[in-house]
Symmetry: C2
Subunit: 482 residues, 2 copies
Amino acid sequence: MMSVIRIDTTDKHIINLASIVSGARSILYKKVDLLAYDCDGFTIHKHLPKAVVFPKNTAEVSQIVKYCSENKLPFLARGAGTGLSGGAIPINGEVIISMVRMKKLISVDLENRQAVVEPGFVNLKLTNSISDKGYYYAPDPSSQYCCTIGGNVAENAGGAHCLKYGVTTNHILGLEVVLPNGEIIEIGKNGVLDEPGYDLLGLLTGSEGTLGIVTKITVRILKNPEGKQTVLAYFDRVEDGSQAVSDIISAGIVPAALEMMDKTAIEAVEAAAFPVGHPKDIEAVLLIEVDGIAAGIDEQINQIVKVCKKRNVREVRAAKDEEERGRWWANRKTGFGAMGAISPDYLVQDGVIPRSKLPEVLRKIAQISGESGLRIANIFHAGDGNLHPLVLFDARKPGEIEKALEAGSQCLKACADVGGTITGEHGVGIEKREEMRFVFKEEEILAQTNIREVFNPDNLLNAGKLFPTPGRCVEIKKEMKA
Amino acid sequence: MMSVIRIDTTDKHIINLASIVSGARSILYKKVDLLAYDCDGFTIHKHLPKAVVFPKNTAEVSQIVKYCSENKLPFLARGAGTGLSGGAIPINGEVIISMVRMKKLISVDLENRQAVVEPGFVNLKLTNSISDKGYYYAPDPSSQYCCTIGGNVAENAGGAHCLKYGVTTNHILGLEVVLPNGEIIEIGKNGVLDEPGYDLLGLLTGSEGTLGIVTKITVRILKNPEGKQTVLAYFDRVEDGSQAVSDIISAGIVPAALEMMDKTAIEAVEAAAFPVGHPKDIEAVLLIEVDGIAAGIDEQINQIVKVCKKRNVREVRAAKDEEERGRWWANRKTGFGAMGAISPDYLVQDGVIPRSKLPEVLRKIAQISGESGLRIANIFHAGDGNLHPLVLFDARKPGEIEKALEAGSQCLKACADVGGTITGEHGVGIEKREEMRFVFKEEEILAQTNIREVFNPDNLLNAGKLFPTPGRCVEIKKEMKA
């Protein structure tokens, strides 16, 4: 085999993989290099990969996958590594297939409102590439300035504007996928609605990298709304703020975004890089944005103000201009990181509840906080009931990591108990595998792992993610086969 | 076994099935009764079922399925039988499990915008049940006055208002499903966004009754829009009409509905039960509805009129009141049946194309009509590129059925050739099995039939639907296993 990379190892797998991804620094295999890939945005577990390869095109991905498959080497795909549930952590010493060199914007079709990107293309770059023509890409995770659309597909990422516009899966029109046997398939290839046959597009989206590796993505792009207005509403009581959320939706308004932060969260964001002057003594702030036809904007804002007043809002501020609006969003979107200003460490959780249960679950979270002795901040997508409790802790204190993990898990249980679920947009990864049992019976988990087996029969691709450890599932399966 | 039904047959399967669904007329097995179940809305193929059973609850469905499964009896579920691609036709002499007795509206939760229905609940009844409180259910197939929501889920049904609001799959929050082994699972059980794990909800929705039998459905309900306006726009040239469709969407307007009828269609609807006085000499009419915040409606209509004028519209009429609006919609929604006024028989097709290809594909359909010697009318959801060519023929003339089927298939090929697909909302059923090859490679079909095998390993449930006859697929599979 020929290789243009100088490889100073005798490991035949490294040598063979290097020959597939020829070119400078297209494979990493030394420990010092691998350390940067031992975790993703979920930093509590760390594992070294066997190697990291950087393919440049679909054919290379397919060859790498075939090689790994034939040689029984575990492997997984990684985008920017901003995932928050550990989906890209190589817990089995995987060969990591990094998609960061497949970062082209392949085409934009304004007439049919579509764009085609490679998986390593950064989320925000898409909007930046088409905004001068009056278009944008809707899903906007807080990490959008660096996370990749491939990673967004794997996790079915959400974002502040998903209340009105839907999460990633609602914006994906087609995928090219390398299956775990190296075969390349196209699904939803034509970017049209409702393809015949089974909805593989939906199945692959959000499958957390366990069914295949996405190598090309057709996304829906939207026309910029004609008008937009953003307000901050401050509440003295958190109950009033949560009730206002329900009331706004009940009034028939669907804001583009409807975010909430509680007192602890406000303390953090005001102490961090993008303070905006939130009053320090309030219990909740809502960040509300409406968009659409210009003529309807003022009326919607008036209705929202009316609803907030009925819930004893202290003050409503409207953004004076785009610059102020931008600062408010920076304040919100850097909210998780802002926890660093008030706590050495934090663990972000991601539960979903029916909107009407907001007051009840926030009370429960306060109780969990009290019992664990750990502060919990709440920054979340209130409009769609997607909570993000941030458990603050100090990893240097013995036992605090475990206590934080336990408190996070209890928050998820509280969500599941009111008819909610354990992830809205961050995925299950390795973090919430056992919590899957809060929402699924064994048979229901089995129905899913059976599907994984069809795509990924040797379980070499991202094994050990998304589902609880087999245990009882395997037994049931044996019984069923018997 | 005990049975309260008098069964005058010695067929042990009939006797045993009757004991599961006790009660008057809960099983049909005589030829004279079975004749009513030999086809659905796709009337070209007819096959008698072995029996028709009418379960009253999920437990009975599960028992029937278990019985069929253990005794290797093919079976399938049927709603109102309005499907247009033959999905409910018992081509293997199936036991039909009719869902029409499971027709309860189980609950409505206005605060969280959800309703739970049994599968036999009629689509339009849902809106009728909640409209006094200001809510509605969005997916509105033309058959909504009689089709069931269970059938809508099986076919992922669309409708005129799916342009803005999405097809059935976008409105399904949870399903209870009886799997082909009789096991009962709940998916998306909590009616919250983005459940963890694989998107089984999306996978089951639109799987055309081949993966399981839906026994309970949680749907999203929407608040009635504050304002609504409907206009008719008449064009002398079909090209201008199609170009106006593209231009409206390009202008950033998303109408609630954007329908088109061509000259032949207009001739039919004006000759049928709900004429509204369309000019007979125009080539195309657009039926356009906008809805939303009241303050924005007039501006949107003004923009639409401006766009239409640029495309040489002859006249734009606005609906004077709800009554006139209702008549216009009746005229459109009974359009397929109206073909009976100008032709003894018709075959409706259902292709999807990128909106920008509308003029090109309409020309191609005119050419197919010319070559086949059969008239083809077009009534369709222009806004989302979902065409419905209606091939007019006379079944009494030898060879015309075959000619009509061939012309229909050519229309689908024309859609696929411009990057479109072969069904937008009617499903594949038995009608378009071979046309699946227009859009899928063998490996892509195999990826889907492999999933079917996980759920439906003995292929007793609705076998022979949705996918082309195995042939080459099976060979590939053998090669892969080897």
